[in-house]
Amino acid sequence: MSVDDQRTTVARQSGEPLVAPGHDLESVNEQINRIVLRPAGSGWLFGFTVAFLLLIGLMFAVLALMTRGTGIWGINIPVAWGFAIINFVWWIGIGHAGTLISAILLLLKQQWRTSINRFAEAMTLFAVACAALFPILHLGRPWVFYWLLPYPNSMQLWPQPRSPLIWDVFAVTTYGTVSFLFWYVGLIPDLATLRDRAVEPLKRKFYGIVSLGWRGSAMHWRRYEMLYLLLAGVSTPLVVSVHSIVSFDFAVSVLPGWHTTIFPPYFVAGAIYSGFAMVLTLTIPIRKIYHLEDFITMRHLDTMAKVMLGTGWIVAYGYLMELFVAWYSGSYFEQFLVRNRLFGPFGPAYWGLILTNVALPQALWSRRVRRNPVLLWCLSLVINTGMWLERFIIVIVSLHRDFLPSSWGMYYPTAWDWATYLGTFGLFFTLLFLFIRFLPMISNFEMRELVHRTSTEGEH
């Protein structure tokens, strides 16, 4: 069976249509590129302004941090890591959904990825950009951050390879690089489309440069398909490896609550959980505003909700195992940690976590909830909050009361902590708004391919 026949079979087997009926190749192009080629609406301008103001806020927060020091945050001894690391893990986790949708679902030939993969991959890139800020900002001496990179130097010093923070450096830079390549390569045919359709000379020049001379010839397409698959192959392990390595930041240490082997799969599942939640948070309003319901259909929302439910259960299993192993281990320190998590000063955060990550998402069992965009959107916000709370519990609670009671302390975030965090939302949304405005947020050529398959399938 040829590849084409395989695809046709899959398309026929899928049942619910992935593209609303009545679309042909041209209408797909028109619908998607209209957003880019026409002038921006006032809604976009308003959103972009708000995001940009938050970005300015981030710059102020970073300026204060650089001039005065990490003491403006709430960290102390024993809790030497606070919001910066929580937010780092949170943002990186969010990025994993994009890579999973783009790469893994491509290799698994899941057609429903088509309308959301471009957007999700962009979201990944921007999330990684936000995340990558934090390991540099939280340093006591950020101006020598490059010492964490392996470069030949007169001191003859290389980074210390046993430290998970160095593994992080490799993991996150690899992730960022590969994600960017994958996303960019995926954009090339669409940029060419825009080049061909743009009217203003400036736009033609811009798209012309970034589309790298794509002519759409058969040879181009052959090489392109191969490259695309290869990049997907390279990206796929990253979904598992990057967050596993981020989890090693904690798992390699000796602290109760950190020193546990469940962290790699638990973190990866949590990443996908929060990533899909963020994809939903973003795509549900956007499909409404930009009238993309034909491409991002109910079926897409339904499927993403099912993925969330599945990963949510893996995360819940992780919570359960932590409780069980603490009891089973017989270690006084582990048992104290669990008692402290549940009933200590940060107990409300823990119970909030159970509510938002375990209890409320059970509504996703209901088909009505999964197909209700508003409810689904609210749930996605709840889950994202829950995942942030999870990182908060992991980082703060294990640190604030560890082995020696004499060193126990508390952690209180400061206004600068919040300002930096909200500022990264500014960075994220600024980039996102720019993306929406200047680049096609749905993959044109893949959609055209999908429409072609489903329409020819009907003809057969």
Binding site: T70, G71, G140, W147, L255
Partner: protein
């Protein structure tokens, strides 16, 4: 070029005599002279040409003149040569980079503590104890360690002032001359001197000289805290000073006496006490300590049996105890209660069994009756002459401090005083509130003050002369046993200060004498030796004048002289008492501006930067109070607002307040800190009294404590065992759980040195001298209260306090916690830039210039001993503090991690010395700062690879264990189990 012919000395003296407009007129005259103009050309050759040709020539010359005056004339002066004698080498052999040590002594409350002060290039940087001094034995307390910061304190008074305007010493001499004339006419009838406590023989001589000059002038001495030893007049018939010998003591009973941590001789008593409790010593003959006190103190924390009782109940307890041992004293009716009686009975029986080898000590916070009872009890137990001996008073005062101050206040109110000279004491701040001292002082026409700071008293005086610190002046002082030490300066006076000798000399007929000459003159007479120079150099070298200890006098305590128990005179509103105690870190307030001492966590409460009203858990419950609640404490018609701290082990119905806070004029560090307990203190009963009302105000006040959790739970942190158990099981269970875990990696072989440390927890009293020593040695910054509230204090060494048992009267343990230099350090593998690595000597090293500040190492440290510079905590900008810092230790900037280095600078310099001589470093050559300061010698440091070293032997001791060994960190610090010696006959607490 022709040399300019101006005479700096002449100009200087002319300028010094001038004031205000005269000053500038004098300058103007100066600049117009030809000589000066030529000098200006010489001095500023590249400028003078343009300036002299410019139309603003006059202005330019004036500016030059001004700078000439400011820079050269009135600042540092070239003093006549005064040779100080270093401890090890002659001054000629000063090698830059190698410190010299000079023996001197620190006077505190009149008694001297012999010190060896480390001097780098002519500046004192670190204080150590003088092993040859009987009051130090090589150890120091927190106050001595922090004294170097007071020397360089930028808030110190720098200039002579008259009515708050800067003036000069010669102008004061003119005023003093005027006073001399006036007072000579009347024989000093209106002249009063008020001094702080002193034991200085030279000062005694000077006082005699002044008494001869002004026969009618009166001398007063005042210290808010102290004077306990001499409260013996009644029972002995004269004032005597007790000296204890704890080496010979088997059973000690303390009546509210914190004799291990405060009072004269406390360092020696700590050492003697510890020597009888050391697990590496003759543990079978361990001593036993009973303590009865209201609030937990260092002494109470190491007691084998502790009884929390109100201070007001100590006297009835003492009476009952006296009767138990057979002394003929009357008991207080109806007191003490049954529970206390059982305690007394058993304790008395123990004391009786140790006749002649026991000791009963009364605390300075107890009235004379209790001291008298203690002397009588010692007499009855046959201790006199054996474990306690008596000498003539070492201090110069012949009157009780309170009486002296009261007499002065009354005289001032009566208008009998026309000139008041105050030196070395701060009565406006420390006088009892009901004395009205400040108001009475305002009636005195001429008031002159000598002090280190322009404090509350200086504020009310017309003349203020800055006092020189003991590290920059000559003097002499006697230790707790009378031994004399000469105080020699380590640096020229930093500012325009004068010592008390020079100050008082102003009132004599030879006013401009130098302290150096006065001390030498006195000792030339005293030494009676033919070769005075050799004598002088020897005593300066050794730090002690031989054969000057006070000799014992025979004295019999007369039980009959003890007054009968006073019936409760007034009707009091409540039976809650208030107890006034000197603060463990700022004493009576004199150290309030010392940042190291303000930030030093108090030994039991771990409170910094504030004082609090300490109450027991039961009292707190009864009053509905919690930590940090603000209350109004009312006592005898006066009240203050204070935050509450609930302290385990505190007596019920008792509130302890620490003196020394709430200062109004002490400097920038002390400003606004704490509440002023002196506002409640009364003249007739300065130490405690019943009738306190506590009213909750509904506010809270943040208290910065460095430790908030004191329970160990099931954590195996401080191990303890009783002597009985220890002797029963010859093999202890100390080594349970201490086996090193299996590993795939080979052990690292240490062929050279392998540094290690052993800490004997049982004899740690929590005095915290080691914490300040570490801070001084390693340039550790002070972060301030706001940062301590955020848990960012920077102490590399901390003393953890743990309680076990009931909060009403728990067992207390002190555990000094510092970097354990783990063999398998969790901090090392997680640093991304290899800023923390392990040396071939076994040290966990911190490389400041490689640290990027990810703080993963701190997260992974299970002991949480690493400290991070969240801000630029080190004071980068205050010039006077540059001189104070240890040049061998990096001053850390923002964003780097730091922690204990086992004083690597000392290790390295010892290794360098040894390698120059082609030998290994010997045992005892390297002494870490904490080890050196410790009065009980609880800390031992050395080479584990040397089988004869103390640490190698102690590490193998059956009572040695490691903290958190189950994490397989393999620390290089071992702790010795705490051994307590409870009396099985004592009633259960």
């Amino acid at each position: 070029m022709k040399p300019s012919r101006i005479d700096p000395e002449a100009i200087r003296s002319r300028l010094r005599q001038a004031q205000g407009r005269d000053y500038w007129k004098t300058l103007e005259e100066l600049t117009n002279t030809e000589e000066f103009q030529r000098w200006a050309e010489d001095e500023f050759p590249h400028r003078s040409i343009e300036w002299l040709r410019s139309p603003n020539r006059r202005e330019a010359l004036r500016l030059m003149a001004a700078s000439f005056a400011l820079a050269g004339l009135t600042g540092c002066t070239v003093q006549p040569q005064e040779q100080i004698v270093p401890y090890v080498r002659q001054p000629e052999q000063l090698v830059p980079g190698r410190p010299l040590f000079f023996a001197t002594a620190m006077p505190i409350c009149g008694y001297g503590l012999g010190l060896l002060v480390e001097s780098h290039e002519g500046r004192p940087t670190k204080v150590e104890g003088n092993p040859a001094h009987p009051g130090s034995l090589g150890a120091t307390d927190a106050f001595a360690q922090a004294s170097v910061l007071t020397l360089y304190d930028p808030d110190r008074s720098r200039a002579v002032t008259f009515r708050n305007r800067i003036t000069t010493w010669p102008r004061f001499l003119t005023e003093a001359a005027g006073i001399r004339e006036r007072q000579s006419a009347t024989g000093g009838a209106g002249l009063r001197f008020l001094l702080g406590a002193t034991s200085s023989p030279t000062l005694a001589e000077e006082i005699r000289e002044l008494q001869a000059a002004y026969p009618k002038a009166l001398w007063h001495f005042y210290e808010p805290v102290g004077g306990a030893g001499a409260r013996s007049a009644a029972v002995f018939g004269r004032r005597l000073h007790p000296i204890f010998d704890l080496t010979a003591v088997d059973v000690i009973l303390s009546l509210d006496a914190d004799f291990l941590a405060s009072g004269p001789g406390c360092l020696v008593y700590s050492r003697q006490f510890a020597d009888r409790r050391r697990v590496t010593g003759d543990i079978k003959n361990m001593n036993r300590l009973y303590v009865a006190e209201p609030a937990l103190t260092s002494t109470g924390s190491v007691a084998d049996h502790r009884l929390p009782i109100r201070a007001v109940d100590v006297e009835p307890l003492a009476r009952a105890l006296a009767r138990e041992v057979g002394a003929a004293v009357e008991e207080a009716p109806g007191k003490p209660g049954d529970a206390q009686r059982a305690w007394i009975k058993a304790a008395a029986a123990d004391l009786q069994r140790a006749r002649g080898r026991s000791l009963v000590v009364a605390g300075e916070g107890q009235p004379p009756a209790v001291h008298a009872l203690a002397y009588v009890i010692n007499e009855a137990l046959g201790n006199a002459g054996r474990t306690v001996r008596y000498t003539e008073p070492v201090l110069l005062n012949t009157e009780d401090y309170m009486q002296s101050l009261g007499a002065l206040a009354e005289a001032m109110r009566q208008g009998q005083v026309d000139t008041l000279v105050i030196a070395g004491t701060n009565p406006v701040y420390t006088a009892p509130a009901d004395l009205g001292f400040a108001e009475a002082m305002a009636l005195v026409p001429t008031r002159i003050h000598l002090g280190l700071y322009r404090d509350e008293t200086a504020e009310l005086c017309q003349w203020h002369i800055p006092e020189t610190h003991f590290l920059e002046s000559w003097g002499d002082v006697r230790a707790y046993d009378g031994t004399v030490s000469i105080i020699q300066p380590l640096i020229k006076p930093l500012y325009d200060g004068r010592s008390i000798y020079e100050f008082l000399a102003a009132f004599t007929t030879a006013p401009d004498r130098r302290g150096y000459d006065m001390i030498r003159a006195y000792w030339r007479k005293q030494s009676g030796s033919t070769d005075f120079e050799t004598f002088w150099r020897t005593v300066l070298h050794n730090g002690v004048v031989p054969n000057t200890q006070a000799s014992s006098v025979a004295a019999a305590a007369n039980a009959g002289a003890i007054p009968p128990p006073a019936p409760s005179a007034e009707i009091v509103a409540t039976n809650v008492e208030i107890v006034f105690r000197p603060d463990p870190t700022v004493w009576d307030g004199r150290f309030a501006n010392n940042g190291w001492l303000q930030e030093l966590p108090k030994p039991i409460s771990k409170l910094t930067w504030d004082n609090a009203a300490l109450i027991s858990p039961a009292t707190a419950k009864a009053l509905g109070l919690r930590d940090e609640d603000v209350v109004e404490v009312s006592y005898r018609g006066r009240s203050v607002r204070a935050p509450v701290l609930v302290m385990p082990g505190h007596a019920d119905d008792s509130v302890t307040v620490h003196l020394g806070y709430g200062r109004r004029r002490a400097g920038s560090v002390a400003q606004g800190r704490g509440f002023d307990a002196y506002q409640l203190r009364t003249f007739d009963r300065p130490w405690f009294g019943e009738g306190v009302e506590i009213r909750k105000l509904g506010e809270t006040y943040s208290l910065a404590r460095t430790q908030g959790h004191h329970e160990m739970g099931r954590r195996d942190l401080v191990r303890s065992v009783t002597l009985k158990e220890l002797l029963k099981n010859s093999a202890s269970t100390a080594h349970e759980g201490q086996h090193p875990a299996l590993s795939l990696y080979p052990e690292y072989a240490y062929f050279g040195y392998a540094w290690g440390m052993v800490i004997d927890q049982g004899i740690c009293t929590g005095c915290s001298a080691c914490v300040v020593a570490c801070q001084a040695e390693n340039n550790i910054p002070v972060v301030g209260k706001a940062q301590v509230l955020r848990s960012r204090e920077m102490h590399w060494l901390r003393i953890d306090v743990y309680y076990r048992g009931e909060p009403e009267n728990p067992d207390v343990y002190h555990q000094p916690m510092l970097c354990q230099h783990c063999e398998r350090a969790p901090c090392e593998p997680v640093c991304p830039v290899a800023a923390t690595v392990h040396s071939a000597d076994g040290l966990n090293q911190m490389v400041y210039n490689r640290c990027v500040g990810t703080r993963y190492c701190s997260n992974n440290c299970p002991y949480k001993v690493r400290r991070f510079n969240f801000f630029l905590y080190s004071d980068w900008y205050t010039p006077s503090l540059y001189a104070m810092r240890n040049p061998n230790v990096t001053v850390r900037s923002r964003g780097v991690m730091e922690k204990c280095t086992f004083c690597v600078q000392r290790i390295e310099s010892a290794k360098i010395q040894a390698s120059k001589m082609n030998r290994r470093v010997e045992e005892g050559e390297i002494v870490t700062a904490c080890q050196a300061a410790c009065p009980t010698r609880a800390i031992h440091f050395g080479d584990l690879n040397n089988p004869n070293s103390a640490v190698a032997q102690m590490r193998r001791h059956q009572l040695g264990y490691q903290v958190l060994a189950e994490l397989d960190t393999q620390p290089r610090i071992s702790y010795l189990e705490v051994v307590r010696n409870p009396n099985s006959e004592m009633p259960e607490a």
